[in-house]
Protein backbone atom coordinates (compact mmCIF):
# COMPACT_ATOMS: atom_id res chain seq x y z
CA UNK A 1 0.00 0.00 0.00
CA UNK A 2 2.70 2.43 1.11
CA UNK A 3 4.75 1.41 -1.89
CA UNK A 4 1.89 2.11 -4.30
CA UNK A 5 1.46 5.64 -2.92
CA UNK A 6 5.19 6.31 -3.28
CA UNK A 7 5.02 5.05 -6.86
CA UNK A 8 2.07 7.29 -7.66
CA UNK A 9 3.80 10.34 -6.20
CA UNK A 10 6.98 9.52 -8.11
CA UNK A 11 5.27 9.06 -11.48
CA UNK A 12 3.13 12.17 -11.04
CA UNK A 13 6.26 14.19 -10.28
CA UNK A 14 8.07 12.76 -13.29
CA UNK A 15 5.15 13.62 -15.58
CA UNK A 16 5.03 17.12 -14.08
CA UNK A 17 8.76 17.62 -14.72
CA UNK A 18 8.48 16.52 -18.34
CA UNK A 19 5.43 18.74 -18.93
CA UNK A 20 7.26 21.65 -17.27
CA UNK A 21 10.25 21.29 -19.57
CA UNK A 22 8.54 20.39 -22.82
CA UNK A 23 5.09 22.04 -22.87
CA UNK A 24 6.28 25.51 -24.04
CA UNK A 25 7.93 23.87 -27.05
CA UNK A 26 4.86 21.83 -27.81
CA UNK A 27 2.82 25.01 -27.63
CA UNK A 28 5.22 26.91 -29.89
CA UNK A 29 5.03 24.07 -32.39
CA UNK A 30 1.25 23.79 -32.57
CA UNK A 31 0.93 27.58 -32.63
CA UNK A 32 3.24 27.65 -35.64
CA UNK A 33 1.07 25.23 -37.65
CA UNK A 34 -2.32 26.77 -36.79
CA UNK A 35 -3.87 29.07 -39.39
CA UNK A 36 -4.36 32.62 -38.08
CA UNK A 37 -8.10 32.24 -37.46
CA UNK A 38 -7.40 29.31 -35.09
CA UNK A 39 -4.33 30.96 -33.60
CA UNK A 40 -6.21 34.10 -32.58
CA UNK A 41 -8.94 32.22 -30.80
CA UNK A 42 -9.85 33.21 -27.26
CA UNK A 43 -10.18 29.59 -26.19
CA UNK A 44 -7.01 28.09 -27.65
CA UNK A 45 -7.27 24.37 -28.35
CA UNK A 46 -4.51 22.02 -27.21
CA UNK A 47 -4.61 20.11 -30.52
CA UNK A 48 -4.66 21.92 -33.87
CA UNK A 49 -7.84 21.37 -35.92
CA UNK A 50 -6.39 22.62 -39.19
CA UNK A 51 -2.74 22.46 -40.16
CA UNK A 52 -0.85 24.96 -42.32
CA UNK A 53 2.81 25.51 -43.09
CA UNK A 54 2.34 29.02 -44.41
CA UNK A 55 4.18 30.52 -41.40
CA UNK A 56 7.28 28.50 -42.23
CA UNK A 57 7.29 29.88 -45.78
CA UNK A 58 6.62 33.45 -44.66
CA UNK A 59 9.54 33.41 -42.19
CA UNK A 60 11.90 33.16 -45.14
CA UNK A 61 9.97 35.17 -47.73
CA UNK A 62 8.94 38.18 -45.63
CA UNK A 63 12.26 38.65 -43.83
CA UNK A 64 15.91 37.61 -44.13
CA UNK A 65 15.66 34.83 -41.55
CA UNK A 66 17.95 32.46 -43.49
CA UNK A 67 20.61 35.19 -43.35
CA UNK A 68 20.11 35.49 -39.58
CA UNK A 69 20.65 31.74 -39.26
CA UNK A 70 23.81 32.01 -41.34
CA UNK A 71 25.07 34.92 -39.19
CA UNK A 72 24.55 32.91 -36.02
CA UNK A 73 26.20 29.82 -37.48
CA UNK A 74 29.28 31.77 -38.63
CA UNK A 75 29.67 33.67 -35.37
CA UNK A 76 29.08 30.67 -33.10
CA UNK A 77 31.24 28.38 -35.26
CA UNK A 78 34.19 30.76 -35.44
CA UNK A 79 33.93 31.51 -31.71
CA UNK A 80 34.02 27.79 -30.89
CA UNK A 81 37.06 27.23 -33.09
CA UNK A 82 39.10 30.13 -31.70
CA UNK A 83 38.06 29.56 -28.08
CA UNK A 84 39.12 25.92 -28.36
CA UNK A 85 42.50 26.70 -29.96
CA UNK A 86 43.39 29.35 -27.38
CA UNK A 87 41.79 27.39 -24.53
CA UNK A 88 43.58 24.11 -25.31
CA UNK A 89 46.96 25.75 -25.07
CA UNK A 90 46.21 27.69 -21.87
CA UNK A 91 44.35 24.78 -20.27
CA UNK A 92 47.23 22.41 -20.94
CA UNK A 93 49.76 24.80 -19.40
CA UNK A 94 47.63 25.16 -16.28
CA UNK A 95 47.09 21.41 -16.00
CA UNK A 96 50.59 20.11 -16.69
CA UNK A 97 53.27 22.77 -16.37
CA UNK A 98 54.74 24.24 -13.21
CA UNK A 99 55.04 27.99 -13.13
CA UNK A 100 54.83 30.86 -10.67
CA UNK A 101 51.55 32.74 -10.32
CA UNK A 102 49.31 29.94 -11.56
CA UNK A 103 46.59 30.84 -9.07
CA UNK A 104 46.73 34.49 -10.12
CA UNK A 105 46.48 33.59 -13.82
CA UNK A 106 43.59 31.21 -13.21
CA UNK A 107 41.79 33.69 -10.94
CA UNK A 108 42.11 36.40 -13.59
CA UNK A 109 40.67 34.12 -16.25
CA UNK A 110 37.83 32.94 -14.00
CA UNK A 111 37.07 36.51 -12.90
CA UNK A 112 36.05 37.31 -16.47
CA UNK A 113 33.27 34.71 -16.30
CA UNK A 114 31.72 36.70 -13.46
CA UNK A 115 31.86 40.07 -15.18
CA UNK A 116 28.47 41.57 -15.62
CA UNK A 117 28.52 41.85 -19.41
CA UNK A 118 26.72 45.16 -19.26
CA UNK A 119 29.67 46.70 -17.36
CA UNK A 120 31.83 46.55 -20.44
CA UNK A 121 29.04 47.10 -22.96
CA UNK A 122 29.60 50.84 -23.44
CA UNK A 123 33.39 50.84 -23.64
CA UNK A 124 33.42 47.76 -25.83
CA UNK A 125 31.00 49.53 -28.17
CA UNK A 126 33.40 52.50 -28.37
CA UNK A 127 36.41 50.24 -28.96
CA UNK A 128 34.63 48.25 -31.67
CA UNK A 129 33.34 51.45 -33.28
CA UNK A 130 36.84 52.94 -33.44
CA UNK A 131 38.04 49.71 -35.08
CA UNK A 132 35.07 49.82 -37.52
CA UNK A 133 33.86 46.45 -36.25
CA UNK A 134 30.23 47.38 -35.52
CA UNK A 135 27.95 45.32 -37.82
CA UNK A 136 30.74 42.85 -38.61
CA UNK A 137 31.16 39.20 -37.62
CA UNK A 138 34.54 39.94 -36.04
CA UNK A 139 32.87 42.51 -33.80
CA UNK A 140 30.91 39.69 -32.18
CA UNK A 141 33.42 36.86 -32.46
CA UNK A 142 36.13 38.72 -30.53
CA UNK A 143 33.97 39.48 -27.46
CA UNK A 144 32.45 35.98 -27.56
CA UNK A 145 35.86 34.28 -27.58
CA UNK A 146 36.84 36.35 -24.59
CA UNK A 147 33.61 35.59 -22.71
CA UNK A 148 33.96 31.86 -23.35
CA UNK A 149 37.65 31.47 -22.54
CA UNK A 150 37.14 31.08 -18.77
CA UNK A 151 34.78 28.14 -19.27
CA UNK A 152 36.99 26.62 -21.98
CA UNK A 153 40.23 26.85 -19.98
CA UNK A 154 38.59 25.64 -16.77
CA UNK A 155 36.83 22.61 -18.25
CA UNK A 156 39.79 21.62 -20.43
CA UNK A 157 42.38 21.87 -17.67
CA UNK A 158 40.16 19.62 -15.55
CA UNK A 159 39.99 17.22 -18.46
CA UNK A 160 43.75 17.25 -19.21
CA UNK A 161 44.50 16.44 -15.56
CA UNK A 162 42.59 13.17 -15.91
CA UNK A 163 44.69 11.97 -18.85
CA UNK A 164 47.39 9.37 -18.12
CA UNK A 165 50.67 11.22 -17.75
CA UNK A 166 52.87 8.29 -18.87
CA UNK A 167 52.32 8.77 -22.61
CA UNK A 168 53.37 12.39 -22.36
CA UNK A 169 56.43 11.55 -20.27
CA UNK A 170 57.55 8.96 -22.82
CA UNK A 171 57.17 11.46 -25.65
CA UNK A 172 59.12 14.11 -23.73
CA UNK A 173 61.91 11.57 -23.13
CA UNK A 174 62.09 11.06 -26.89
CA UNK A 175 62.75 14.77 -27.24
CA UNK A 176 59.29 15.84 -28.36
CA UNK A 177 58.61 19.53 -27.68
CA UNK A 178 55.68 20.55 -25.47
CA UNK A 179 53.91 22.21 -28.40
CA UNK A 180 54.15 19.16 -30.64
CA UNK A 181 53.22 16.91 -27.75
CA UNK A 182 50.11 18.98 -27.13
CA UNK A 183 48.83 19.13 -30.70
CA UNK A 184 49.80 15.67 -31.93
CA UNK A 185 49.30 13.52 -28.82
CA UNK A 186 47.22 15.25 -26.14
CA UNK A 187 44.60 16.85 -28.40
CA UNK A 188 43.72 13.64 -30.29
CA UNK A 189 43.40 11.83 -26.94
CA UNK A 190 41.04 14.48 -25.62
CA UNK A 191 38.33 14.46 -28.25
CA UNK A 192 35.49 13.70 -25.76
CA UNK A 193 36.48 16.69 -23.63
CA UNK A 194 36.87 18.89 -26.67
CA UNK A 195 33.42 17.92 -27.97
CA UNK A 196 31.83 18.70 -24.59
CA UNK A 197 33.58 22.05 -24.28
CA UNK A 198 32.98 22.96 -27.91
CA UNK A 199 29.27 22.24 -27.54
CA UNK A 200 28.99 24.48 -24.48
CA UNK A 201 30.83 27.31 -26.22
CA UNK A 202 28.72 26.92 -29.35
CA UNK A 203 25.44 26.97 -27.38
CA UNK A 204 26.63 29.99 -25.35
CA UNK A 205 27.52 31.98 -28.45
CA UNK A 206 24.43 30.90 -30.35
CA UNK A 207 22.30 32.10 -27.42
CA UNK A 208 24.03 35.38 -26.53
CA UNK A 209 21.70 38.36 -26.71
CA UNK A 210 23.02 41.57 -25.12
CA UNK A 211 26.15 42.03 -27.24
CA UNK A 212 24.43 40.80 -30.39
CA UNK A 213 21.60 43.28 -29.84
CA UNK A 214 24.04 46.15 -29.32
CA UNK A 215 26.82 45.48 -31.82
CA UNK A 216 24.69 44.33 -34.77
CA UNK A 217 22.41 47.19 -35.72
CA UNK A 218 21.11 46.20 -39.15
CA UNK A 219 18.40 43.54 -39.58
CA UNK A 220 20.51 41.64 -42.14
CA UNK A 221 23.30 41.42 -39.55
CA UNK A 222 21.12 40.24 -36.64
CA UNK A 223 21.83 36.86 -35.09
CA UNK A 224 18.92 34.48 -34.52
CA UNK A 225 17.95 35.48 -30.93
CA UNK A 226 17.96 39.18 -31.84
CA UNK A 227 15.99 38.59 -35.03
CA UNK A 228 13.33 36.63 -33.15
CA UNK A 229 13.19 39.10 -30.25
CA UNK A 230 12.75 42.04 -32.65
CA UNK A 231 10.34 40.38 -35.12
CA UNK A 232 8.15 43.04 -36.68
CA UNK A 233 4.81 42.67 -38.42
CA UNK A 234 3.41 44.45 -41.45
CA UNK A 235 2.10 47.24 -39.22
CA UNK A 236 3.37 48.63 -35.97
CA UNK A 237 0.56 47.07 -33.95
CA UNK A 238 0.44 43.63 -35.49
CA UNK A 239 2.81 41.06 -34.04
CA UNK A 240 3.16 38.04 -36.37
CA UNK A 241 2.91 35.41 -33.62
CA UNK A 242 2.51 32.48 -36.03
CA UNK A 243 5.75 33.40 -37.78
CA UNK A 244 7.58 34.01 -34.52
CA UNK A 245 6.60 30.53 -33.36
CA UNK A 246 7.65 29.00 -36.69
CA UNK A 247 11.04 30.71 -36.45
CA UNK A 248 11.37 29.49 -32.88
CA UNK A 249 10.69 25.91 -33.92
CA UNK A 250 13.14 26.11 -36.83
CA UNK A 251 16.06 27.16 -34.64
CA UNK A 252 15.26 25.24 -31.47
CA UNK A 253 14.79 21.87 -33.16
CA UNK A 254 18.50 21.44 -34.03
CA UNK A 255 19.45 22.56 -30.52
CA UNK A 256 17.04 20.05 -28.97
CA UNK A 257 18.46 17.25 -31.14
CA UNK A 258 22.01 18.30 -30.27
CA UNK A 259 21.19 18.29 -26.56
CA UNK A 260 19.46 14.90 -26.70
CA UNK A 261 22.35 13.39 -28.65
CA UNK A 262 25.12 14.75 -26.45
CA UNK A 263 23.34 14.93 -23.10
CA UNK A 264 26.02 13.06 -21.15
CA UNK A 265 28.84 15.13 -22.55
CA UNK A 266 27.00 18.35 -21.84
CA UNK A 267 26.18 17.37 -18.27
CA UNK A 268 29.85 16.46 -17.72
CA UNK A 269 30.97 19.80 -19.06
CA UNK A 270 28.38 21.72 -17.07
CA UNK A 271 29.22 20.05 -13.80
CA UNK A 272 32.92 20.64 -14.36
CA UNK A 273 32.39 24.18 -15.58
CA UNK A 274 30.17 25.74 -12.98
CA UNK A 275 30.16 23.61 -9.90
CA UNK A 276 33.39 22.07 -8.82
CA UNK A 277 33.00 22.32 -5.08
Amino acid sequence: MNKTITKIILYTSVVAIVLWCVFPFYWAFISSIKPDRDLFETNPSLIPHRVTFINYLKVFSERPFHINIMNSAIVAGATTLFALIIGISAGYAVARLRFKGKIIVMSLILAVSMFPQVSILGSLFLILRSMHLINTYSGLILPYVSLNLPLTVWVLQNFFRELPVEVEEAALMDGCSRFRLLWSIVVPMSSPGLVATGLLVFINSWNEFLFALTFMQRPEKYTVPVAIALFKGATQYEIPWGQIMAATVIVTLPLVILVLAFQNRIIEGLSAGSVKG
Binding site: M106, I109, V118, S119, L126, L142, L182, L258
Partner: protein, 292 residues
Amino acid sequence: MKKSSLTAFWMILPAILVISVIAFFPLFETFYDSFYSLSLRPGSVKRFVGLMNYERLMRDPRFLADLKHTVFFTVVSVSFETILGTLMALVVHQKFPLRGLVRASMLVPWAIPTAISSQMWRWMFHDQFGVVSKFWERLGIIKPGTPVLGTPGLAMWAIIFVDVWKTTPFMAILILAALQVIPEELYEAARIDGANAIQRFFKVTVPLILPTIGVALIFRTLDALRVFDVVYVMTRGAVETETLAVYNRHVLMDRAFTGSWFGYGSAISVAIFIIISVFAVIYMRSLKLKFD
Protein backbone atom coordinates in the same frame (compact mmCIF):
# COMPACT_ATOMS: atom_id res chain seq x y z
CA MET B 1 62.46 24.47 -14.52
CA LYS B 2 63.16 27.78 -16.21
CA LYS B 3 62.23 26.32 -19.59
CA SER B 4 58.92 25.01 -18.34
CA SER B 5 57.97 28.49 -17.13
CA LEU B 6 58.84 29.95 -20.51
CA THR B 7 56.77 27.36 -22.36
CA ALA B 8 53.87 27.99 -20.00
CA PHE B 9 54.17 31.72 -20.63
CA TRP B 10 53.83 31.28 -24.41
CA MET B 11 50.98 28.83 -24.02
CA ILE B 12 48.96 31.12 -21.77
CA LEU B 13 49.80 34.39 -23.51
CA PRO B 14 47.05 34.24 -26.20
CA ALA B 15 44.34 33.65 -23.58
CA ILE B 16 45.60 36.47 -21.36
CA LEU B 17 45.94 38.78 -24.36
CA VAL B 18 42.38 38.24 -25.59
CA ILE B 19 40.93 38.59 -22.11
CA SER B 20 42.94 41.73 -21.42
CA VAL B 21 41.95 43.49 -24.63
CA ILE B 22 38.28 42.49 -24.63
CA ALA B 23 37.48 42.34 -20.91
CA PHE B 24 39.95 44.07 -18.61
CA PHE B 25 40.76 47.04 -20.82
CA PRO B 26 37.07 47.91 -21.45
CA LEU B 27 36.42 47.54 -17.74
CA PHE B 28 39.20 50.03 -17.01
CA GLU B 29 37.73 52.35 -19.66
CA THR B 30 34.32 52.14 -18.00
CA PHE B 31 35.82 53.21 -14.67
CA TYR B 32 37.70 56.04 -16.40
CA ASP B 33 34.67 57.32 -18.35
CA SER B 34 32.50 57.32 -15.24
CA PHE B 35 34.39 60.46 -14.11
CA TYR B 36 33.62 62.30 -17.34
CA SER B 37 30.67 63.84 -19.07
CA LEU B 38 30.53 62.74 -22.69
CA SER B 39 28.20 61.78 -25.51
CA LEU B 40 28.47 59.16 -28.25
CA ARG B 41 27.86 61.74 -30.99
CA PRO B 42 30.96 62.02 -33.17
CA GLY B 43 32.91 65.16 -32.33
CA SER B 44 31.39 65.75 -28.90
CA VAL B 45 33.60 67.15 -26.13
CA LYS B 46 34.71 65.06 -23.15
CA ARG B 47 34.65 66.95 -19.84
CA PHE B 48 36.04 65.85 -16.47
CA VAL B 49 33.33 66.03 -13.81
CA GLY B 50 34.88 64.15 -10.89
CA LEU B 51 32.35 62.28 -8.77
CA MET B 52 29.32 64.11 -10.18
CA ASN B 53 27.97 61.03 -12.00
CA TYR B 54 28.08 59.05 -8.75
CA GLU B 55 26.34 61.82 -6.83
CA ARG B 56 23.62 61.85 -9.45
CA LEU B 57 23.36 58.06 -9.19
CA MET B 58 22.55 58.24 -5.48
CA ARG B 59 19.71 60.65 -6.19
CA ASP B 60 18.34 58.94 -9.33
CA PRO B 61 14.94 57.49 -8.33
CA ARG B 62 14.90 55.28 -11.42
CA PHE B 63 18.25 53.74 -10.50
CA LEU B 64 17.12 53.12 -6.91
CA ALA B 65 13.81 51.60 -8.06
CA ASP B 66 15.66 49.35 -10.51
CA LEU B 67 18.04 48.26 -7.78
CA LYS B 68 14.99 47.22 -5.77
CA HIS B 69 13.48 45.33 -8.75
CA THR B 70 16.78 43.55 -9.38
CA VAL B 71 17.20 42.46 -5.77
CA PHE B 72 13.56 41.31 -5.62
CA PHE B 73 13.96 39.35 -8.86
CA THR B 74 17.18 37.76 -7.62
CA VAL B 75 16.01 36.78 -4.16
CA VAL B 76 12.65 35.36 -5.28
CA SER B 77 13.81 33.55 -8.41
CA VAL B 78 16.95 32.06 -6.87
CA SER B 79 15.00 30.84 -3.82
CA PHE B 80 12.39 29.12 -5.98
CA GLU B 81 15.05 27.66 -8.27
CA THR B 82 17.03 26.24 -5.37
CA ILE B 83 14.07 24.64 -3.62
CA LEU B 84 12.35 23.33 -6.75
CA GLY B 85 15.70 22.32 -8.25
CA THR B 86 16.55 20.21 -5.21
CA LEU B 87 13.13 18.54 -5.29
CA MET B 88 13.46 17.90 -9.01
CA ALA B 89 16.92 16.39 -8.55
CA LEU B 90 15.60 14.06 -5.84
CA VAL B 91 12.81 12.90 -8.17
CA VAL B 92 14.99 12.13 -11.18
CA HIS B 93 17.54 10.43 -8.91
CA GLN B 94 14.94 7.65 -8.30
CA LYS B 95 14.63 4.69 -10.62
CA PHE B 96 11.83 4.81 -13.20
CA PRO B 97 11.35 3.89 -16.87
CA LEU B 98 12.79 6.28 -19.52
CA ARG B 99 14.88 8.04 -16.88
CA GLY B 100 17.60 8.99 -19.39
CA LEU B 101 15.11 10.66 -21.68
CA VAL B 102 13.50 12.59 -18.82
CA ARG B 103 16.91 13.87 -17.71
CA ALA B 104 17.74 14.89 -21.26
CA SER B 105 14.47 16.80 -21.57
CA MET B 106 15.55 18.81 -18.54
CA LEU B 107 18.44 20.26 -20.55
CA VAL B 108 16.11 21.65 -23.18
CA PRO B 109 14.88 24.83 -21.43
CA TRP B 110 18.47 25.68 -20.55
CA ALA B 111 19.76 25.12 -24.09
CA ILE B 112 17.25 27.40 -25.83
CA PRO B 113 18.28 31.06 -26.09
CA THR B 114 16.54 33.05 -23.34
CA ALA B 115 15.54 35.71 -25.85
CA ILE B 116 13.70 33.06 -27.87
CA SER B 117 12.03 31.24 -24.98
CA SER B 118 10.95 34.62 -23.63
CA GLN B 119 9.12 35.22 -26.91
CA MET B 120 7.40 31.83 -26.52
CA TRP B 121 6.29 32.80 -23.02
CA ARG B 122 5.20 36.24 -24.19
CA TRP B 123 2.82 34.51 -26.54
CA MET B 124 1.58 32.18 -23.77
CA PHE B 125 1.01 35.21 -21.52
CA HIS B 126 -0.91 37.07 -24.26
CA ASP B 127 -3.89 38.84 -22.66
CA GLN B 128 -6.48 37.46 -25.13
CA PHE B 129 -5.03 34.38 -26.77
CA GLY B 130 -2.39 33.20 -24.29
CA VAL B 131 -2.74 29.64 -23.02
CA VAL B 132 -1.08 30.34 -19.65
CA SER B 133 -3.23 33.45 -19.12
CA LYS B 134 -6.28 31.25 -19.76
CA PHE B 135 -4.97 28.65 -17.33
CA TRP B 136 -4.36 31.23 -14.61
CA GLU B 137 -7.87 32.62 -15.19
CA ARG B 138 -9.35 29.15 -14.68
CA LEU B 139 -7.35 28.75 -11.48
CA GLY B 140 -8.63 32.12 -10.31
CA ILE B 141 -5.13 33.62 -10.01
CA ILE B 142 -6.05 36.50 -12.34
CA LYS B 143 -9.30 38.10 -13.50
CA PRO B 144 -10.34 37.29 -17.11
CA GLY B 145 -8.72 39.62 -19.65
CA THR B 146 -5.93 40.80 -17.34
CA PRO B 147 -2.83 41.72 -19.37
CA VAL B 148 -0.29 39.78 -17.31
CA LEU B 149 2.71 41.52 -18.88
CA GLY B 150 1.07 44.94 -18.64
CA THR B 151 0.12 44.91 -14.98
CA PRO B 152 2.58 46.28 -12.41
CA GLY B 153 3.52 43.58 -9.92
CA LEU B 154 2.06 40.76 -11.98
CA ALA B 155 4.52 41.40 -14.83
CA MET B 156 7.51 40.93 -12.53
CA TRP B 157 6.04 37.66 -11.25
CA ALA B 158 5.61 36.47 -14.83
CA ILE B 159 9.26 37.28 -15.55
CA ILE B 160 10.32 35.43 -12.40
CA PHE B 161 8.15 32.52 -13.50
CA VAL B 162 9.96 32.31 -16.85
CA ASP B 163 13.36 32.50 -15.19
CA VAL B 164 12.39 29.77 -12.74
CA TRP B 165 11.09 27.67 -15.63
CA LYS B 166 14.39 27.96 -17.47
CA THR B 167 16.80 27.55 -14.59
CA THR B 168 15.21 25.04 -12.22
CA PRO B 169 15.97 21.98 -14.41
CA PHE B 170 19.52 23.26 -14.79
CA MET B 171 19.94 23.54 -11.01
CA ALA B 172 18.43 20.08 -10.68
CA ILE B 173 21.03 18.60 -13.03
CA LEU B 174 23.89 20.14 -11.03
CA ILE B 175 22.43 18.86 -7.75
CA LEU B 176 21.78 15.45 -9.32
CA ALA B 177 25.49 15.17 -10.06
CA ALA B 178 26.16 15.58 -6.34
CA LEU B 179 23.48 13.02 -5.42
CA GLN B 180 25.00 10.45 -7.73
CA VAL B 181 28.39 10.43 -6.03
CA ILE B 182 27.00 9.72 -2.53
CA PRO B 183 28.24 6.16 -1.80
CA GLU B 184 25.45 3.64 -1.21
CA GLU B 185 27.38 2.31 1.86
CA LEU B 186 26.56 5.48 3.79
CA TYR B 187 22.83 4.81 3.44
CA GLU B 188 23.45 1.18 4.27
CA ALA B 189 25.32 2.11 7.46
CA ALA B 190 22.59 4.56 8.48
CA ARG B 191 19.96 1.88 7.89
CA ILE B 192 21.86 -0.56 10.11
CA ASP B 193 22.02 2.12 12.81
CA GLY B 194 18.22 2.22 12.65
CA ALA B 195 17.73 5.53 10.85
CA ASN B 196 14.42 5.80 8.99
CA ALA B 197 14.00 7.30 5.52
CA ILE B 198 13.46 10.85 6.79
CA GLN B 199 16.45 10.67 9.15
CA ARG B 200 18.60 9.25 6.35
CA PHE B 201 17.59 12.15 4.13
CA PHE B 202 18.44 14.85 6.65
CA LYS B 203 21.53 13.20 8.17
CA VAL B 204 23.12 11.72 5.05
CA THR B 205 21.75 13.25 1.85
CA VAL B 206 21.34 16.89 2.88
CA PRO B 207 24.81 17.43 4.39
CA LEU B 208 26.44 15.84 1.35
CA ILE B 209 24.60 17.86 -1.30
CA LEU B 210 24.63 21.12 0.65
CA PRO B 211 28.05 22.29 -0.66
CA THR B 212 26.88 21.80 -4.26
CA ILE B 213 23.62 23.61 -3.57
CA GLY B 214 25.60 26.43 -2.00
CA VAL B 215 27.91 26.85 -4.96
CA ALA B 216 25.03 26.60 -7.44
CA LEU B 217 23.10 29.18 -5.43
CA ILE B 218 25.90 31.76 -5.52
CA PHE B 219 26.49 31.05 -9.20
CA ARG B 220 22.79 31.67 -9.92
CA THR B 221 22.78 34.83 -7.79
CA LEU B 222 25.60 36.24 -9.90
CA ASP B 223 23.58 35.47 -13.00
CA ALA B 224 20.29 36.83 -11.68
CA LEU B 225 21.81 40.14 -10.58
CA ARG B 226 22.83 40.88 -14.17
CA VAL B 227 19.55 39.71 -15.72
CA PHE B 228 18.82 41.35 -19.06
CA ASP B 229 17.42 39.10 -21.81
CA VAL B 230 14.18 37.92 -20.23
CA VAL B 231 13.20 41.40 -19.01
CA TYR B 232 14.12 43.12 -22.25
CA VAL B 233 12.11 40.72 -24.40
CA MET B 234 9.06 40.32 -22.13
CA THR B 235 8.41 43.94 -21.14
CA ARG B 236 11.33 46.16 -22.29
CA GLY B 237 11.48 47.14 -18.61
CA ALA B 238 7.98 48.63 -18.50
CA VAL B 239 5.49 48.25 -15.60
CA GLU B 240 8.01 48.22 -12.75
CA THR B 241 10.08 45.37 -14.14
CA GLU B 242 13.16 47.32 -15.18
CA THR B 243 16.37 45.83 -13.83
CA LEU B 244 19.78 47.51 -13.51
CA ALA B 245 21.19 45.95 -16.67
CA VAL B 246 18.18 47.05 -18.75
CA TYR B 247 18.40 50.62 -17.44
CA ASN B 248 22.16 50.62 -17.96
CA ARG B 249 21.86 49.66 -21.61
CA HIS B 250 19.11 52.23 -22.13
CA VAL B 251 21.31 55.04 -20.80
CA LEU B 252 24.43 53.89 -22.68
CA MET B 253 22.86 53.05 -26.02
CA ASP B 254 19.68 55.13 -26.34
CA ARG B 255 20.29 58.32 -24.36
CA ALA B 256 24.04 58.71 -24.94
CA PHE B 257 23.61 59.32 -28.66
CA THR B 258 21.48 62.42 -28.10
CA GLY B 259 22.91 63.84 -24.87
CA SER B 260 25.96 63.66 -22.61
CA TRP B 261 24.82 60.52 -20.83
CA PHE B 262 27.69 58.13 -21.55
CA GLY B 263 29.63 59.05 -18.42
CA TYR B 264 26.55 58.56 -16.27
CA GLY B 265 25.89 55.21 -17.97
CA SER B 266 29.46 54.19 -17.16
CA ALA B 267 28.85 55.08 -13.50
CA ILE B 268 25.83 52.74 -13.50
CA SER B 269 28.05 50.04 -15.05
CA VAL B 270 30.59 50.50 -12.28
CA ALA B 271 27.86 50.25 -9.65
CA ILE B 272 26.61 46.97 -11.16
CA PHE B 273 30.17 45.70 -11.32
CA ILE B 274 30.77 46.45 -7.64
CA ILE B 275 27.51 44.84 -6.51
CA ILE B 276 28.32 41.67 -8.44
CA SER B 277 31.97 41.62 -7.36
CA VAL B 278 30.91 41.08 -3.76
CA PHE B 279 29.17 37.86 -4.77
CA ALA B 280 31.93 36.92 -7.20
CA VAL B 281 34.49 37.02 -4.40
CA ILE B 282 32.30 34.76 -2.27
CA TYR B 283 31.94 32.41 -5.24
CA MET B 284 35.67 32.27 -5.94
CA ARG B 285 36.33 31.52 -2.27
CA SER B 286 33.78 28.72 -2.29
CA LEU B 287 35.49 27.08 -5.28
CA LYS B 288 38.62 26.65 -3.10
CA LEU B 289 41.05 27.06 -6.00
CA LYS B 290 44.07 24.88 -5.51
CA PHE B 291 46.88 24.46 -8.02
CA ASP B 292 50.23 22.84 -7.54
